[in-house]
């Protein structure tokens, strides 16, 4: 009889250890997911100057547009650097979001202007760079998506029984936060068309 009790205790302890390790692993996955987003954002900031360099040769008359892209890129890059380590600082995050939006606006204006330069679009380097840029955009959105999936996984695990009995004990008291966009209302609004 004594052995049976001992066995049950051992199994129970092992189970609790497994829960703790699971929580830690899932939490770390979230942190890693966030780092991935940063890596991909940086990759984009590094790409943009090259793109501008190639575009310059063909779009001499669009200096302003190109300079606007560069300026927006620098601002976004700076605010990312500032946000580093302060991801819970609401002000830094909102500044960063604003800079990102500015960059997206400048980029879309540039690609609109680019339409008028067929030779530029047919340029071998340009084609390569725009493939690079589109893969980077994809990577950023996938990294965000993966981050949210990790958060979902962690939160579900944390709230489920019997894990929820131990979360207080282990210090995992709060849910992880999903990434949300500041401009959610703007995204939902229909695009304005004016001629």
């Amino acid at each position: 009889m004594g052995y049976v009790v001992l066995g049950i205790i051992v199994v129970a302890v092992l189970y609790v250890v497994a829960i703790y390790n699971g929580l830690v692993a899932k939490k770390n996955q979230i942190d890693n997911g966030f780092a991935q987003i940063e890596v991909q954002l940086k990759r984009r900031y590094d790409l943009i100057p090259n793109l501008i360099e190639v575009a310059k040769k063909y779009m001499a008359h669009e200096r302003e547009t190109l300079e606007a892209v560069i300026a927006a890129r620098n601002e976004a890059s700076n605010s990312l650097a500032q946000m580093k380590g302060h991801s819970d600082d609401a002000k830094a995050v909102s500044e960063f979001n604003q800079a990102e939006q500015g960059l997206a606006g400048a980029m879309s204006k540039m690609s609109f202007v680019m339409e008028a330069y067929p030779e530029l679009k047919a340029n071998e380097n340009m084609m390569q760079l725009s493939e690079e840029l589109s893969t980077t955009e994809n990577r950023i959105s996938y990294a965000r998506q993966a981050y949210n999936d990790f958060v979902l996984d962690f939160n579900t695990y944390r709230q489920s029984f019997p894990q929820n009995l131990f979360t207080g004990l282990f210090g995992f008291t709060s849910d992880a936060k999903m990434l949300e966009f500041e401009d959610s209302p703007a995204m939902q609004a229909a695009p304005k068309v004016s001629f």
């Binding site: 071998e124 493939e131 690079e132 589109s134 990577r139 996938y142 998506q145 990790f150």
Partner: protein, 640 residues
């Protein structure tokens, strides 16, 4: 589609199926046990009904357990054997299917898109980036192989890369990532291994039966013992094969469920159901059948059915395409969009290869010149030499160095060594036909207008070889053909061209394993007399136009080599074929002789007081060919 729910369902289904499978295996082992006991009963002439009503009366408890354990061990050994033979890494599967690993630097624009897509999805799935292999197949298909994350590889057919757009490709790759993530390869391997254990029971029956039929001819009728053995064999055969059949049914069912799971997970990664649905529609329009001989072995790994199965849908490893699309797009009306027909590059390549066959024969002679052997690095390295090489490398343009570090760039730079501006149009046409990307690289390299690189060719080649070593065998053969076309454009092979070609091809071919090192057999100079005569005479004639002066020079070399018996070989007797033959023979010289011949070569090269670029390169080639150390003055040095 609600992919999380579908994933949950598919996981549950596979769980039940796997439990069913394990139960089936246990039941089968029990049946074998009962069968053996029944056989024993009839052997000791006890009616089966009586025996099975109380078997312990006739058999000891221990014996039954022993038989049961024996059967289990038998199945386990069969399974383990299969498990071990099949659990080779993902890389071997890709190579077995004829895949080439893609390398970002040497990839074409389309291949780069594929590599980018793989990286994107690996971020979405949170798995490290696997190696990517390209299969030269026209159909649309893909596979994932490997038993864990680290050893996983992804293979994609060229048809998929060419016919699918970016979103569709993402869907396909995401599906394969899901197989990796869900551990489907491991699951399938385990089921296959267990099935093989059961099959082994049937195989044993079959083996007994076959050996019996031979024995029976010699000893026609020999009592009842033979009958029991036949009964045993037939019984095992039937149980084994019937068990395998039903086991395969369950396994195929599991495999199909995992495909649904992978589709649902793919949508989770891309959040774009149309991507994978459109890819499946394209497969319905084109096809997904693989031509590789080993294709059937890995049928469960593919994105869509790679080979047709015997029992149709019962044994199919993949659900019908229609059902898969319907699960992703519930409101699909069954219509496949019309896709324009394009000649794929694989077809084009085949047509081109036929034409090339004819041209190849012409080139064969030149190739023979490169049929020599042995290892690359010769000679010992002193510190000052290392420094010298460092200096030389630094003196090279950084743009050239960058190119030499990349397989495509290295090919372009090396081709430029053979480039003859007089044949510009023809050479560019060749590149245009053979490899457009190489043409672009080559043209942009030429346009940078570098200083004459030929003087430093030995250095350039030795730097470029590293990058070229990452070519696959096919890519190398392709490059080699282009290189030969460059050499043969003026219908003659110069000493420089031959030597350069030799120092490029030899190390690469040894690296790729397509050139064997031949044994040295000639142990004295006499055996190579004629060959050495040809070689030395030729080297001297290259330096002296006047026949008389050449003969005088030859006499000097003869003296320096202490080889009085050598005779001058007149200019008109020396042909390209003779030269190639001589080189092939000289290659087989044993070390002592080789050094003497090499001394002779060095002496003849220096006889007119200067060393030309061609001579310098030739000395490099001969040093490699005979495996003798290079003298310091020749090492990667710019010749005057």
């Amino acid at each position: 589609m609600n992919f999380f729910e579908q994933q949950k369902k598919a996981r549950q289904h596979t769980f039940y199926l796997v439990v069913l499978f394990v139960l089936a295996v246990l039941a089968l082992i029990a049946i074998v046990l009962l069968f053996l006991m029944g056989l024993y009963a009839s052997a000791i002439h006890i009616p089966l009904v009586v025996f099975f009503s109380n078997p312990l009366k006739y058999m000891e408890n221990k014996t039954i357990v022993e038989i049961a354990l024996g059967v289990v061990a038998f199945v386990a050994i069969g399974s383990l054997y299969k498990y071990l033979t099949l659990s080779s890494g993902g890389k071997n599967v890709a190579l077995g299917l004829g895949g080439n690993q893609l390398n970002y630097n040497s990839a074409t624009a389309q291949e780069r898109v594929l590599l980018n897509v793989v990286e994107e999805i690996s971020i979405a799935a949170g798995i490290s980036v696997p190696a990517v292999y390209l299969l030269d197949e026209d159909s649309i298909n893909a596979f994932a192989a490997g038993l864990n994350f680290d050893d996983a590889v992804i293979g994609v057919t060229r048809g998929a890369v060419e016919k699918l757009d970016r979103n569709e490709l993402q869907g396909v790759i995401a599906h394969e990532f899901s197989h990796i993530f869900n551990g489907d390869m491991r699951l399938n391997l385990q089921l296959t291994a267990l099935l093989h254990g059961i099959l082994l029971i049937g195989l044993t029956g079959w083996t007994i039966l076959r050996s019996m039929s031979r024995v029976r001819i010699s000893s026609s009728k020999k009592g009842g013992g033979g009958a029991y053995i036949i009964l045993l064999a037939v019984g095992l055969l039937v149980i084994g094969y019937v068990g395998t059949f039903f086991g395969s049914l369950i396994k195929a069912n599991v495999s199909r469920k995992r495909e649904y799971l992978a589709d649902a997970t793919a949508v989770q990664y891309t959040r774009y159901p149309q991507g994978i649905a459109n890819a499946l529609k394209k497969i319905m329009h084109y096809n997904s059948k693989l031509q590789a001989p080993a294709a059937a072995t890995y049928s469960h790994l593919y994105f869509a059915e790679g080979v047709s199965s015997f029992f149709g849908s019962l044994m199919a490893t993949h659900p019908p395409l229609f059902d898969r699309i319907k699960k992703i797009e519930p409101y699909w009306d069954g219509e496949i969009p019309h896709y324009p027909e394009k000649k794929s590059s694989v077809q084009k390549k085949r047509e081109k290869e036929l034409k090339k066959e004819v041209e190849k024969e012409k080139k064969e002679r030149i190739i023979q010149g490169a049929m020599a052997t042995t290892m690359m690095h010769v000679g010992q390295v002193k510190e000052e030499e290392v420094e010298q090489v460092h200096k030389e490398i630094k003196a090279l343009d950084t743009k050239i160095l960058d190119r030499l570090n990349d397989p495509l760039g290295a090919q372009a730079v090396i081709l430029s060594l053979f480039y003859d501006a007089a044949y510009k149009k023809e050479l560019f046409d060749i590149l245009q036909k053979e490899n457009r990307y190489l043409l672009l690289e080559f043209a942009s390299f030429l346009s940078e207008s570098h200083t004459e690189l030929k003087k430093e060719s030995a250095l350039v080649v030795s730097l470029g070889l590293n990058a070229l070593k990452s070519l696959s065998i096919q890519q190398y053969q392709h490059f080699k053909a282009i290189m030969e076309a460059f050499i043969g454009i003026d219908n003659e092979v110069s000493l420089f061209e031959w030597s350069l070609q030799y120092i490029i091809e030899r190390p690469l071919e040894i690296h790729l394993g397509i050139r064997k090192v031949s044994k040295s057999s000639h142990s004295h100079l006499g055996a190579l007399k004629q060959e050495v005569e040809v070689l030395i005479s030729m080297l001297i004639q290259a330096q002296y136009d006047d026949e008389k002066k050449a003969q005088e020079a030859f006499a000097k070399v003869k003296k320096a080599m202490y080889a009085g018996a050598l005779q001058y070989c007149p200019r008109e007797q020396i042909t390209h074929d003779l030269f190639i033959k001589s080189i092939q023979a000289i290659e087989k010289a044993k070390p002592g002789v080789a050094e003497r011949i090499f001394e002779g070569v060095l002496y003849s090269v220096k006889i007119d007081g200067e060393i030309s670029v061609a001579e310098n390169t030739f000395v490099h080639a001969v040093a490699q060919l005979m495996q003798v150390p290079l003298p310091y003055e020749f090492k990667l040095e710019k010749s005057a």
